[in-house]
Symmetry: C2
C-alpha cells in the first residue's frame, strides 16, 4: 500500500470554455513531484468511461503554474485529496479522501481483454461492497456542491 | 567545455499574437532532456536586454508538445543549433552554430554588480574580437531571412 497527498489545480483556458468542450488542463502536486495533464472530451463507450489523457512530469510545480498563468491560463479550481493505493496483481484499488466531498474508491484493472477486465472489476466491486457508482469527476462533484 | 545540440520549437498562442506582444513559448529539446520556457516582453534598459524568463524541466518533449497542441498552441518555428559552452569563472561564453544562420557568440556574466558585469563583458568582448553586436533573437533573424 502506498499513500500520497495530491493537490490538483485545474486551469481555465485563455479562449476556450473547457466546461463546454469537456476538456481539462490539470497540474498535480504530490510529495514525489508534479505533473501536467491534458484530458480530452469523454468518449461514450458501452461499459466504462474513456478519454484521452496526456501527462508529462514537470521539474517544479510553481514554475509550471507561472508559465501557464503568463500564457493566459487561470487557476480555476483546486481539488485536494489523500490517496491510498493498493495493488493486488492486475487490480488496483485507490481509496481517496477528497476535501469537501468525502471518501471514494476507484477500481482499475490492467489487462488486454476487456471481458476479463469487466468480470474482474465486477468481482472486486461486489467483494468490497461498493454499490453507489459515480460517473462524475471530483471537480464536477465539487462544482455541483457549490451550486454552480 | 560542454557541447549540446538544441532544437527549439516555438509555439503560436491559441488567441494571442506573440509577435505583437513580444512573448514566446518555447520547448527546448537537448540530449539531456527537455524544458519548457515562457519569455515575456523585452524591457528596455540602458545597456543590456532584459526579459522575464520562466523555465521548467519536462519529463519528455513529445508529451509536452502534445499537451500544448491539444490546448490550441501550434508549432510555429523551429530553431536548431549546436552550442559549445565555456565557463571561465564568472564569465560564460556560448558559441552557437545555428542552422540557416551561421555562427554566434553569446557572453554572459554572473555577478551581483551591474557595473562589474558591464566591464567584464566589455573586456571579454574586446579580447575575443567580437565587433558585430546582435540584438535580435535567432527566431527573429530566421524570420527576417525568410522575408517574413
Amino acid at each position: 500500500m502506498s499513500e500520497s497527498t495530491q493537490e490538483d489545480v485545474y486551469f481555465a483556458h485563455p479562449s476556450r470554455d473547457f466546461g463546454k468542450t469537456d476538456e481539462a488542463v490539470r497540474l498535480r502536486k504530490t510529495e514525489d513531484g508534479a505533473e501536467l495533464t491534458y484530458k480530452g472530451p469523454r468518449i461514450k463507450t458501452s461499459a466504462a468511461k474513456a478519454r484521452e489523457e496526456i501527462t508529462v512530469k514537470v521539474g517544479d510545480a510553481l514554475s509550471a503554474q507561472r508559465i501557464l498563468e503568463r500564457a493566459g491560463f487561470k487557476e480555476a479550481h483546486v481539488v485536494a485529496k489523500k490517496r491510498a493505493t493498493y495493488q493486488l496483481d492486475k487490480l488496483r484499488v485507490e481509496v481517496d479522501v477528497v476535501d469537501g466531498l468525502g471518501e471514494f474508491v476507484e477500481l482499475e484493472v490492467m489487462t488486454e481483454s476487456p471481458e476479463r477486465a469487466a468480470s474482474l472489476l465486477e468481482m472486486a466491486r461486489a467483494e468490497l461492497g461498493l454499490n453507489k457508482p459515480e460517473q462524475k469527476t471530483y471537480l464536477e462533484l465539487l462544482l455541483d456542491k457549490k451550486g454552480k
